[in-house]
Symmetry: C2
Subunit: 118 residues, 2 copies
């Protein structure tokens, strides 16, 4: 699991810059199942997780939502039969902050624990 | 609330036709907050529901997921801070079946009960 998973999200100010292209590429190496996509001109991190049915997909959605509420940083979560797509980005700065990469790593952590059955 | 809310979904066969344009327009009158959108060449019903925060959005998502599991017909649910977008369509026939309009009405029912505070 990426060492990012153990980092804490820092409070993010409106005037903080988004991560640069070079920083993004470095951080993406830590979370290789994620990619950067554009939605309405804003960069987001995206990963699609797969599941054997709807019940396990919604359970994962709930776990990601619980993490989001705990940390106070909220993703977009698309729940479908056998599939959950998660997007992380920082609304305040309309782009990607290191916090988003940390949250992506923590989301992977939830998925890995689930698939380990532990 | 639309009378559709009290109807049961019928088992849907692969060779059943999608609703016609005229049938869609009639059924849409019963669920006026929904619209028909195209996603990858497939017609879906779409409605965006709003909430004061993330916690209430995810609670609604869970309620819609519970209904979906109960009936055995599954939507796509996009959960974001203060907003849930629901899509109903029938995978088997790659389009809209009367069941989707019934599920849309039942989804509205969940939202109305919630906002009534009952």
């Amino acid at each position: 699991m990426s060492p990012l998973v153990d980092l804490k999200c820092e409070a993010c100010r409106n005037d903080e810059p988004c991560v640069t292209g070079a920083e993004s590429l470095d951080l993406l190496k830590e979370i290789p199942d994620w990619r950067i996509v554009q939605r309405e001109g804003v960069q987001r991190l995206e990963r699609v997780y797969t599941f054997p049915d709807f019940a396990q997909a919604i359970r994962f959605t709930d776990q990601v939502a619980f993490l989001a509420e705990e940390i106070g940083h909220h993703p977009a979560i698309l729940t479908e039969w056998g599939r959950v797509t998660v997007h992380w980005w920082t609304h305040k700065i309309k782009g990607l902050h290191p916090n988003d990469f940390i949250m992506a790593a923590k989301t992977d952590g939830i998925y890995e624990i689930r698939t380990d059955g532990s």
